[in-house]
Symmetry: C2
Subunit: 121 residues, 2 copies
DNA sequence: GCTAGTATGCACCTTTTGGTAAGTACCAGG
DNA sequence: CCTGGTACTTACCAAAAGGTGCATACTAGC
């Protein structure tokens, strides 16, 4: 039903950065502009479809800017917009929190789904 | 299998608050402890299954504490743990960002799915 | 003996999301 | 001419997340 009404700002923020690869994209673009292939290699195990999709959403949301050099072979650079930079700033404490408690969170996540433990026995 | 290894703290944080209702739960528990039914009414359009599920995950993650009064009829209170409070602190700037840009984000989200709000015709 | 209200569990189903594999247009090098 | 590298698209699929509704144990009220 997508009641596009957020009760707290958290919902709005998470709607923007909620994709699987978006935090990583933000993370890598925070330093500098990057070419598409460069970004993909930096992230590592992401497929083209996913990366493009997430980049397009972030672009549509005004977080990242796409600069197409119109060259052959294709050359496209992605960077944070100023709006995206305000988001990156707001994300810093959360990123710090995650870094600080990363090992604890990793343990929790691995316990959440060890292996098929909900099978009919 | 998703290697539970986070490259940046953002991933870890989002793994914890990534549920659909978790931001809301955090939001409501940030002020004070609340009984289950109280919380459900505060959130509004959440189902029992979802709320319980999210609460259990947050509890397993050490973010919220569950206090069962062992009474009949049942009475259970949920509150933030001190760990949960550190998370809430880290979330503040992001929440502020979301609040600040809420109307913009709402527009973006509604454009993402042109169906808007489904009404029973 | 009903129903209501408490907090929660369980089975089933739908929607959303993420992932895989292929194909596009273009040019350089072998 | 075939391969590789660029950036990107598309069709199809699997898995996860979310949602609905009924069931539980217990008491109070009608």
């Amino acid at each position: 039903m997508t009641t596009s009404n957020f009760v707290c700002g958290l919902d709005a923020s998470l709607a923007v950065i909620g994709g699987k690869w978006k935090p990583l994209i933000l993370f890598h673009l925070a330093y500098e502009a990057r070419r598409y292939g460069d970004l993909r290699r930096a992230i590592g195990n992401v497929s083209d479809k996913m990366l493009i999709q997430q980049l397009k959403e972030l672009e549509a949301d005004g977080i990242v800017a796409r600069h197409d050099f119109k060259e052959i072979p294709p050359r496209v650079e992605y960077s944070l917009t100023s709006f995206g930079q305000t988001l990156a700033e707001a994300l810093k404490p959360l990123c710090a929190w995650g870094t600080e408690h990363m090992s604890a969170v990793e343990k929790l996540m691995s316990r959440r789904e060890p292996f098929g433990s909900k099978k009919i026995a």
